[in-house]
Symmetry: C2
């Protein structure tokens, strides 16, 4: 666990931007008060490791803002990203003392933390918490299974197109825009992080992005800003049967 994080002010749950999506989404006023009493904030800078796999983990948390990654590593250094943590996503597992994955901040992030024991006790007494966490976990399981299809069966080109269309659609949903026609967005990940997510090398990621650019499926300004002239075209390249999958 990282140490040189710094405190970031306090928010009341009422004014919390993830109030309606996070693990507390279903809680009523009284339940929220109880959570309010045991919560505390921590922030981490881009690049910092929030938690190492195997570390003692005495808290659970919600991501309030920023992006983090969940990764697994083999002894020889091969690494696979197994999840992307976006605002409102939940970190840690009630009933588990040690972290199963590395959590690394991709951007600066703010987390709303609860010491694990009090949180677990509260879960026992508060069905709304367990119900919401169940919902979120089922969604994550769907996303993980969607990703298994990508990792096991898609070509490099399809993998890149899938990632781009997922990011584009998530962006659209956050900004409440339609995921149709032409869209623009920023890539929140480096080429290496994309490679770790997609089970590729960073060179292959770079080459496939260049190929999609060459063929007019996407346009790049700088290395991170993407414009998709025709969303349907991109989704066809992803090989998904029309609607595509869940994300987080």
């Amino acid at each position: 666990m990282a140490h040189d994080d710094h405190f970031h002010g306090t928010l009341t749950c009422g004014e919390c931007p993830i109030r309606h999506r996070a693990v507390c989404a279903r809680c009523e006023a009284a339940e929220l008060d109880a959570l309010e009493r045991i919560k505390y904030y921590r922030s981490f800078e881009a690049g910092q490791t929030v938690i190492w796999a195997g570390d003692q983990m005495d808290f659970v948390a919600s991501v309030v803002s920023g992006i983090a990654t969940l990764t697994q590593t083999m002894e020889d250094g091969r690494t696979q990203m197994v999840g992307l943590l976006l605002p409102s996503d939940f970190v840690g597992r009630p009933g588990r003392a040690r972290a199963a994955y590395n959590v690394i901040a991709t951007t600066d992030i703010l987390m709303c933390c609860f010491r694990r024991k009090p949180f677990e006790e509260m879960m026992e007494r508060t069905p709304h918490l367990a119900q919401r966490l169940l919902q979120m976990t089922l969604d994550e399981l769907d996303a993980a299974r969607e990703w298994m299809l990508l990792l096991g069966r898609k070509t490099a080109r399809e993998k890149i197109a899938s990632l781009l269309s997922i990011i584009a659609r998530r962006d659209a949903s956050v900004n409440m825009l339609p995921a149709k026609g032409h869209m623009t967005f920023d890539l929140p990940l480096t080429r290496e992080a994309m490679a770790d997510y997609l089970g590729l090398t960073l060179e292959t990621v770079s080459r496939q992005i260049s190929a999609l650019k060459r063929e007019g499926v996407i346009e790049l300004t700088g290395k991170r800003h993407v414009m998709v002239p025709d969303m349907d075209r991109l989704m066809a390249e992803a090989g998904d049967d029309s609607d595509g999958g869940v994300f987080g």
Copy 2:
């Protein structure tokens, strides 16, 4: 949903073999009675499709005995297994009307079913159900993430060794034997099903199994019965850092 399934007799929850592991594991006597009243059994033969992805799904269920697979398919036929359903595993998702995956019986199976609506209502009133389902879902999520590392980063040889060692260890845990030294077990899957699980072709599966046999890592009698002379050797081939992963 398949139609030519046939009824298979009735079990009281008290004598149910998965009573202590399934979604009902934490339920008390009264809660069990309530479940007993809404449950019914269905059975399927090996090879039958239990549910097609996209189908209306008006029940959820526990696998009582036998093995089934959860698969996703792309339009062009590429398929990826995203889960293996073993006795006590849960099928379906409260709050979701349509199946997300194909469920196919690998062996003859018996399922303990609940109509979805009554089950959902009962979940609202019965924290023990939601708590247990949360636990099970978190375990499945861990298994899915373990599998993402395998699909994204392991070689064909490591994939096969991983699958074999997982099956061996599951077998050991069911029969309450130590997962050490030499072990024997049967493969519950065809080469093709293994390929779909591992993100390989069946030819590659066959070649890698032959290679492991040639090098003495495993011994085969017939096509399905496996003997592992040295479990540590097999686990080293799997590339896992010693302890290996979760399964189901």
